[in-house]
Symmetry: C2
């Protein structure tokens, strides 16, 4: 394990512990008003052993600007609830109809469809609860800005809209421009939010916030390109889900349209661009620059 | 039309106009990043000609404490987006499987299931956007409190949890206590939020806020009892949906368990209790007292 991977692991574990605690609180097993099956399905959907890349980006962006660690972890956990909701709903029969996620039955398979819809709804809702709660100790203004930025990253102009375009893409394959836009919305918006959120938590300047948004946009693109490469070159065991699925569905990817060599060169270019953008922060940017490289070169 | 009904109508129209404007902004037809079909489905789900009772309660509660009208209308519109999301998801085949809502095809019938799931998700998300947006001109603290209270009214301990209990009730009918709890969560939580929100918008005292929460709880109970009576005594034309459905599904209602006479007496009692609670505000409480009576006696 590289020192970078050790850092990523540490934040993933702290996020997992916090999510575990937050979702136990939300379940409140002693209160009959918390339906146990729904609360379990929320836990099942959110505590899934992911890499917790988005919380890591929140954490390291906040750290670079001297933001509060605990607040960053809480916002990271909120973001992960929101990300988990999107996976639970995307997997539904009416959407991507996936039975497996990270090698485990998806929520509607492990429970049932109604419970999966409601668990997704409740995780989405809980993300805003976590940010607004008194335990997230940042100034009110920062909370409002996080709520607003998260709602916009998740809404019709962000992740939900991206998923709608993705479903439409199965019927009519988009061109290169269409694919880039779809991916910027579907996966890019939350990654951009993660990087921006660190700056907001730390009360950084408007300029810093803008720069972190752009940094997030670039690594969001790299994340998706790496994903497309993995879909093409990995087997199901590595991915924990069916491989070659996007291609089989006729979904256009940039790998299919532009070829693997172009994508690999583009990934290098994006890492350089992201690194150059935050080089202005000197040594403090080192971990985020490694994160950009990690996102582009990840093997799973 | 009584003077009260005229007031209700006026706020409903202002809410409708504002929702129309907010959902047009959210759609931004000039931007390709807003998938048109999804944006249309959101409009279809939210602009459905309802009575807009919840926004009316926000508006009148805010008015009683001297809160800003425009802020109250915006929070009412946000609440209506959230209420609409719950209807869109509740109607889905995996949930209540309803084809009609207010005499019109439900969203998954008019569009498709995936679009209905996403439209619900996007309406839920947009509710938080509207509250946090700069155009909602209240102090930051009040916004945070509204976000938090709304998330809790909608989450696993509120509306989403109530819907989970409601689905479970089809398999095993709950007792009187179970029904009261289920209804308090499923429909009561948002009505309570509406009444509380007015006090928050106006910056009323903690005591006033508590009193308005209790007022909301009581009229929420009355709302649900009136609904159960209507389900039993109305025909489909009046309801705009299938009548006698709850009974046919074997869902326990208090009307079935306690009888119509008991329910009618309980409704009178609840109106008295609600009125007594806010009598402390004197003349300013007159409209809300009429609202309590309206909720208990409504015929559709």
């Amino acid at each position: 394990m590289t020192p970078f991977e050790a850092k990523l692991n540490t934040v993933a574990k702290r996020t997992e512990t916090l999510l575990e605690q937050l979702l136990s609180e939300e379940a409140r097993p002693q209160e009959v008003t918390r339906p146990a099956r729904l609360a379990e399905a929320m836990r099942y959907g959110a505590l899934n052993g992911g890499k917790r890349l988005r919380p890591f980006l929140v954490f390291e962006s906040a750290a670079m600007f001297g933001g509060d660690e605990m607040a960053a972890l809480r916002v990271g956990a909120a973001l992960e609830c929101l990300h988990s909701y999107s996976l639970v709903h995307d997997d539904l029969p009416a959407m991507d109809d996936d039975d497996l996620r990270r090698g485990k039955p998806t929520v509607h398979i492990a429970y049932d469809e109604a419970t999966a819809i409601l668990a997704g709804d409740a995780l989405l809702t809980y993300a805003f609860d976590i940010i607004a709660a008194p335990e997230t100790q940042i100034v009110d203004r920062a909370k409002i800005e996080l709520v607003l930025a998260l709602a916009r990253a998740a809404g019709v102009g962000g992740m939900a809209g991206g998923q709608a375009l993705d479903l439409a893409a199965e019927k009519q394959a988009p061109d290169v421009h269409g694919i880039v836009m779809l991916q910027a919305m579907k996966t890019g918006a939350l990654i951009r939010f993660a990087c921006e959120a660190g700056a907001v938590i730390a009360g950084a300047s408007e300029d810093d916030r803008d720069r972190m948004r752009r940094f997030g946009e670039i690594i969001g693109r790299a994340f998706q390109l790496a994903d497309d490469l993995l879909d093409l070159t990995s087997d199901a065991a590595t991915l924990g889900k069916a491989a070659g699925k996007d291609a089989a569905r006729g979904k256009g990817t940039l790998v299919a349209l532009r070829g693997q060599a172009w994508v690999e060169a583009e990934l290098d270019r994006l890492v350089d661009e992201a690194s150059a953008l935050i080089a202005v922060y000197g040594e403090r940017a080192a971990t985020l620059i490694e994160a950009a490289r990690f996102v582009a070169n990840r093997k799973a």
